[in-house]
């Protein structure tokens, strides 16, 4: 038998390769977090820097040990653990003892990420699991807020709203800049917006989630404010105070734990927004962004399944 001469070289798809990889995407996310990081370092100084370093290094070490224990490739090839550590540090109060930050970071990486199968298989956002673990475990340390620069103990803006200390509420401008007490990286809405828009420009996030998330919070708090006879400042306050922007741009857009269909993403954002308003207005906690995103993470597979696009040429669902 003579070998048949290959007339045509056939390979399977995909035929066009992108230079983009998980590592390059993670680098972009890190870059997008830089503005918020700089603002938090300016306002909260050395404690903030130490907390960020302890969270990031603990996440990296936990990632390395997990990969090693599970016989996967080491050293760590991409920076997702660094992103997790940084995001966790961003939603912690600046005065938190360093070992607690490190513990939360390791908890998120080990329990929420690697025990579920590692990158790409986790159901919940590891950084948010780390935060909820810390909040449930150390409620006192996790709700101790300080004012920026002087570092005087003070309630967070949403806490003030909850305790109806209306007189001492910060102005919307202060909230935009970040000159208020709160978690490390959540205080400055502008810095987060810059990072979020950069990610959108680079094509890493779909604006459907943050837009529907933030939009739902605005519409619902606007209605509540109208019913209670308060002005436009109330919904604006809800938008810029607390972790809404950080959650909407960096956590609700996590590639792994959120829906992939367009309609699913919009529903995801609406669900998150409604839960945030429900927790803030009616719940026991002043802030609910972390829980709302985690709760919506649970229904992500369902959203994906029910919003699946109809395959062209197949029969109609109800026809």
């Amino acid at each position: 038998m003579t070998p048949i001469k290959k007339l045509l070289q056939v390979t399977s798809s995909p035929h066009i390769h992108s230079t983009e990889s998980i590592s390059s995407a993670m680098r972009d996310v890190l870059l997008a977090l830089v503005p918020a990081l700089l603002v938090s370092l300016y306002f909260f100084r050395v404690p903030a820097l130490l907390l960020v370093l302890s969270c990031v290094s603990s996440a990296y070490i936990a990632e390395y040990l997990c990969l090693k224990a599970m016989g996967k490739q080491t050293p760590v090839k991409e920076q997702s653990a660094v992103v997790t550590g940084l995001l966790l540090a961003f939603c912690l109060p600046p005065t938190l003892p360093l070992w607690m930050g490190a513990l939360g970071s390791a908890f998120g990486i080990v329990i929420a990420k690697h025990l579920f199968g590692g990158l790409g298989y986790n159901i919940f956002n590891p950084a948010l699991i780390g935060r909820c673990f810390l909040l449930a475990s150390f409620p006192v340390a996790m709700t101790h807020w300080i004012t920026p620069i002087d570092g005087v103990s003070s309630a967070s803006p949403l806490g003030m709203l909850k305790e109806s200390m209306e007189g001492s509420l910060p102005s919307v401008t202060q909230l935009l800049v970040g000159n208020v007490s709160g978690s490390l990286g959540e205080t400055s809405a502008v810095a987060i917006l810059i990072g979020g828009l950069y990610l959108w420009y680079r094509g890493h996030i779909d604006l459907r989630i943050p837009a529907s998330f933030i939009g739902t919070v605005f519409v619902l708090t606007f209605i509540i404010a109208m019913v209670n006879g308060k002005g436009i400042s109330c919904p604006l306050f809800h938008l810029f105070a607390g972790g809404l922007f950080l959650g909407a741009f960096f956590m609700a857009t996590d590639w792994v734990t959120t829906p992939v269909t367009k309609l699913g993403r919009i529903l995801f954002g609406i669900g998150c927004g409604s839960l945030v308003v429900l927790i803030r207005v009616k719940g026991g906690y002043p802030e609910g962004v972390a829980y709302s995103i985690l709760l919506m993470n649970v229904v992500t597979p369902l959203l994906d399944r029910y919003t699946k696009a109809r395959v062209f040429g197949r029969e109609q669902r109800n026809g």
Partner: protein
């Protein structure tokens, strides 16, 4: 199997909690302190011992088609006795275990041993089986609760070990129970894998 084997199998090889995954509901709920674990373990040993003995002795006269209701009636009688005794003599433990004492009636370990062992084996073997399974369950509860009490409350049997502010309260909340049980089970599976590889 010899009587000794019937006794020892419940402790490691067929441990009701870690190997057979039975009785997980009380194991998750009451392992917040070692005290509770010991109390629950003792109550289970007592009920299991009594029910296994009686069911094994009556196994030839219990009609097969209604055996489950009969087992439940026997088990429930013993649980009621234990419940009343604990109420009278250990009121503190009784309050902290709460609903989980009457719930021993539906504990899978007890009904499981009645169905799988006592109804097919002699009285002496059933007693050894009950003792082994009961002690195995107690040891498992104590293991889980030691981790949870030390990490979550900073105490062991009520004695303070860790300074204030260090323990993570989550560990004595429900998620801590699931996490501890899951991690311990994974660790024990890994250990067993190692041992069986060495034997082979």
């Amino acid at each position: 199997m010899s009587l000794k084997d019937e006794f020892t199998k419940g402790i490691i090889k067929e441990n009701p909690l870690f190997r057979m995954l039975l009785g997980t509901c009380p194991s998750l709920a009451i392992t917040t302190s070692v005290d509770n674990a010991l109390g629950m373990g003792a109550a289970c040993i007592a009920v299991l011992l009594a029910s296994n003995t009686v069911i094994s002795a009556m196994r030839s006269i219990i009609p097969n088609s209604i055996r489950i209701p009969v087992y439940i009636v026997i088990i429930a009688s013993f649980v009621t006795m234990i419940d009343q005794l604990m109420h009278a003599f250990t009121p503190a433990l009784y309050t902290s275990l709460g609903i989980f004492i009457p719930l021993i009636v539906v504990n899978c370990i007890i009904l499981g041993r009645a169905e799988a062992f006592a109804s097919r084996n002699g009285v002496l073997a059933s007693i050894m089986d009950a003792l082994g399974m009961g002690i195995g369950f107690t040891l498992a509860l104590v293991l889980v609760s030691s981790f949870r009490e030390v990490l979550g409350a900073g105490t062991f049997l009520g004695m303070p070990i860790l300074p204030e502010g260090i323990p993570a309260i989550l560990m004595i909340l429900p998620p801590g129970g699931f996490i501890t049980l899951g991690c311990l089970m994974a660790g024990l599976n890994k250990l067993q894998e190692k041992f069986t590889q060495q034997e082979a």
